[in-house]
């Protein structure tokens, strides 16, 4: 156990009672291993699982809870192998420590729909090792063979005598036994917990206000801070005059940031009022002239510039020259904000001993590092207390708000400070889903078969997580398409325009499928073929990806009754691979007087072994709603280098009254688990665009619908 981990545990967050496993299991590679060279610390079971003599099972989860169910799904994996009683479970967030780095990509981050994918094997091994030790302890006590003992419902049961004892009663003895290095794991067919849908552990505290989010942290002597930063990207604070707020009785401190100002007061409302009285001048910086038209022009200019080659099969130019029919289209999508319901916030306390921070974060070690850097101290002196996240969606993987809170707390002589962003600050200082454009050229032969596809992708690309030195990955969801296309050429141009960008739910799968699956639909129509069957034909080549994508396509086509849309209605379809899963959506619409009415949404996923089917349905619906908001009206625009939207009036979210009927289907599978938090976001936009074409003949090549003077309606049966 590392020092920080040991200190955090002994410090009291997790009581070390009963079974405390302190030896190390050998590192074992997961089935779909990424990243050669990523350091893989050995896993200490007691850092993940502790069983008290009171029978309490404490699971320390490396995935934070931001709504995607990690506090339930990861414990389920341990409990499956352990044979524990779900009602005895307590779930605790892990502190910042390398032992919690996701085995798949080497960071302690709840991102990329990686949590179940990365931890599936390791957590089963931890649960199984503990089970073996408990069986041995009971068998020793009873003087029987452990082979004749089983674990179920937090009890060890001796099969011939029927004797039983609780886990807690043998936990202390079990903890003294050697840890089995290769415990036998269950087969998928033996699962009883995985594949069931136990009540989510976080739900009860979310119906009575007792769930604690970062913004709810309350400490003795706590002060409050409000923050305002330069409206333009790359701008700096030039001067500030806080004389008008210094006389306010509740005022406590002003803190200069490189790009803005923080005011600390005795209450949050007073901090907000004081901040309004501060006069600030900014140097607006080099992007002060940037607006959305220029962003679009620069993206389009990229089509004439050289990029990098992401995929090169066959000879595209020759195939296009010889094609019976050639189509060319340009697609484009705007910047998007995350707009988590809980605005960014962090509470910090800075003393001579170090720093403590409390916040919702998707990346506790990044929060720790940000605080350490801001204070010039070692990361080990920063303790991170992870709270529930009121939405993450990628935004809370960043730590800008942590830096601000720590700098504020540095100015308050050891008193803790809770810094809360206004919604306006939140919308205008996000790390946006980048704007992007793709130019496609596609060639069909005389039989209407797609023989050549060229795509040039222009966007800004975040670094590939856990793959240092890897090429920019914004070409994914195009270059890795499962379709068989004999001549397939994909290039990318990484165009950073200076606008802050980052990871937004489903990342490149939030928009590249809109463009690729839209163009595939265009090609199908040009070939005179049914868009579903056109896709089917290109997935007949037998690779695992093509086979699984095809099964998703077929399942939803069957459920939607694809060949027979109701009179006056039209279907749109799309499907692709995302986050290790295969996802597709069919949308049924009718269009009249610029209103697009959604009658029905049918989604299907193959996510490998389905850990918690009820939560998978919830994630598919929720992901769809996130994608639908963006498709219908999501757009961050710029003027004079600043974001024009500020709150839910001009960056409106989907309303309950606009939520369509959704059916979600899961393809039965025994494959290793894929992700479920993000795949559902991507398919709604292409399917909606394709359905609108089917209904009207109008092809939408940019989002949102509001750009095309189209509005959303929803049918209620």
């Amino acid at each position: 156990m590392s020092d920080i981990t040991r200190r955090a545990f002994v410090g009291g967050a997790v009581a070390l009672t009963g079974l405390t496993l302190s030896l190390e299991l050998p590192a074992q590679e997961t089935a779909r291993q990424a990243a050669p060279g990523v350091p893989r610390p050995p896993r200490t079971p007691s850092a993940f699982l502790q069983i008290g003599e009171d029978d309490r099972i404490t699971i320390i989860t490396p995935a934070v809870e931001m709504g995607q169910g990690g506090h339930t799904s990861l414990p389920m994996i341990i409990m499956e192998e352990l044979g524990g009683n779900w009602d005895r479970l307590r779930v605790v967030d892990a502190p910042a420590a390398a032992i919690y780095n996701n085995p798949l990509f080497g960071l302690q981050a709840t991102v990329g729909s990686f949590s179940v994918r990365g931890w599936y094997l390791e957590l089963r091994r931890i649960g199984a090792a503990a089970r073996v030790m408990l069986l041995q302890a009971a068998a020793q006590t009873w003087k029987v063979s452990p082979e004749h003992c089983v674990a179920d419902g937090s009890e060890v049961i001796h099969d011939s005598s029927g004797r039983r004892c609780s886990f807690g009663s043998v936990a202390r003895l079990a903890a003294s036994l050697p840890i089995p290095q290769n415990p036998l794991l269950k087969t998928v067919a033996q699962y009883t917990m995985i594949g069931s849908s136990p009540p989510r552990v976080d739900v009860p505290d979310k119906v009575d206000g007792s769930a604690r989010y970062g913004i709810d942290v309350t400490l003795p002597d706590m002060l409050y801070a409000a923050v305002k930063t330069c409206p333009t990207f790359g701008g700096k604070l030039k001067s500030l005059d806080d004389s008008a707020c210094r006389s306010m009785p509740a005022y406590r401190a002003t803190v200069r940031l490189a790009d803005g100002v923080v005011v600390v007061a005795q209450s949050y409302w007073q901090a907000r009022k004081a901040l309004e009285r501060v006069k600030v001048e900014y140097e607006l910086g080099p992007l002060a002239g940037l607006d959305s038209e220029k962003v679009s022009q620069q993206l389009h200019a990229g089509f004439a510039e050289p990029g990098f080659v992401a995929r090169h099969d066959g000879k595209v130019e020759a195939a296009l020259a010889g094609a019976a029919k050639v189509l060319e289209s340009v697609y484009e999508v705007p910047y998007l904000a995350h707009a988590c319901m809980e605005p960014m916030n962090c509470t910090a306390r800075v003393t001579d001993a170090g720093c403590e921070i409390w916040c919702g974060t998707q990346n506790p070690q990044a929060a720790q590092a940000a605080a350490a850097t801001a204070l010039g101290i070692a990361p080990a002196r920063v303790q991170v207390h992870v709270q529930y996240l009121g939405g993450g969606f990628g935004r809370r993987g960043e730590a800008d708000y942590v830096t601000q809170a720590v700098l504020a707390a540095k100015a308050t002589q050891g008193k803790p400070v809770k810094l809360i962003w206004s919604r306006e600050e939140d919308i205008q200082h996000d790390f946006y889903r980048p704007a992007a454009a793709i130019r496609f050229r596609g060639g069909l032969d005389a039989a209407g078969k797609l023989v050549a596809l060229e795509a040039k992708i222009i966007s800004a690309s975040a670094p590939a997580i856990g793959r240092p030195g890897a090429p920019p990955f914004f070409v994914e969801a195009v270059e890795d398409a499962n379709y068989r296309i004999p001549n397939f050429y994909v290039t990318g141009l990484n165009k950073d325009l200076g606008v802050r960008f980052g990871f937004w739910r489903s990342v490149n799968h939030s928009h590249n499928p809109f463009m690729l699956e839209g163009f595939i639909d265009e090609l199908a129509r040009a070939a005179g073929k049914d868009p579903y069957l056109f896709r089917r034909e290109m997935l007949q080549h037998g690779s695992e990806g093509a086979r699984r994508q095809l099964a998703v396509l077929d399942l939803m086509a069957q459920k939607a009754n694809w060949q027979h849309p109701p009179a006056g209605h039209a279907f749109g379809i799309s499907a692709f691979e995302a986050f290790g899963s295969f996802i597709g959506t069919i949308v049924e619409v009718s269009v009249k007087d610029r209103f697009v009415t959604i009658h029905r949404v049918v989604q299907a996923i193959d996510c490998g072994v389905a850990i918690h089917p009820d939560n998978i349905s919830a994630q598919l619906e929720g992901g769809m709603a996130f994608g639908l908001t963006a498709a219908v009206r999501g757009e961050i625009t710029l003027r004079n280098g600043a974001v024009m939207q500020a709150n839910f009036n001009d960056y409106p979210a989907l309303a309950l009254s606009e939520m369509p009927l959704v059916e979600s289907y899961i393809v039965p599978s025994t494959a290793a688990p894929g992700g479920v938090g993000e795949p559902g976001t991507g398919p709604i936009a292409p399917s909606l665009g394709n359905a609108i074409y089917a209904a009207t003949g109008q092809r939408l090549r940019s989002l949102p619908l509001s750009r095309h003077r189209l509005s959303l309606k929803v049918a209620r049966t």
Binding site: G209, F648, L656, M659
Partner: protein, 162 residues
């Protein structure tokens, strides 16, 4: 000084009268179940009941609510037993959960006026925003709570003011 009746008890608080009720609840009374989402009354995360009416507490100055019965999510029941809370648990509605206090209180108010709401009633009365997209489960839970109330299930230990 203002005196507020919150979840059945009176509280006298020394606070500037223009302070929104939201921040008084959260920062003065530690009733943090009421959430800040937008500050403009747009999202509904801060919804409380004022004399039974769903009200967005981020835009209501504390001076305006003296003498009214204020119910927050903490006052709905002592043990998550209000029918709406139970329906929420049974339908496993929350994801991140941040908007759910407001959703639940908007639902409590709706069911008081319309014990058996139609989908249209739900669409027009529950205007709270949820970024996780829990809306279809919210709808199911509202119908379930309506059935529970119809079957005579009254909140156990619930506040009389709810």
């Amino acid at each position: 000084m203002v005196t507020l009746n919150i979840n059945g008890s009176d509280h006298t608080i020394d606070v500037e009268t223009d302070t929104p009720l939201l921040w008084v609840l959260r920062d003065e009374l530690a009733l943090t179940g009421t959430k800040y989402g937008c500050g403009l009354g747009l999202c509904g995360a801060c919804t409380v009941l004022l004399d039974g009416r769903p009200t967005r507490s981020c835009v209501v100055p504390v001076s305006a609510v003296s003498g009214q019965a204020i119910v927050t999510i903490e006052g709905l029941s002592k043990d998550k037993s209000h029918p709406v809370q139970r329906a929420w648990i049974e339908e496993s509605v929350p994801q991140c959960g941040y908007c759910q206090s407001g959703m639940i209180l908007a639902t409590v108010a709706l069911l008081k006026n319309k014990p058996n709401p139609t989908d249209h009633d739900i669409d027009t009365n529950v205007t709270n925003i949820c970024r996780c997209g829990t809306y279809n489960r919210v709808r199911k839970a509202i119908h379930r709570a309506a059935r529970m109330q119809e079957n005579g299930e009254t909140p156990v230990g619930g506040s009389s003011t709810a």
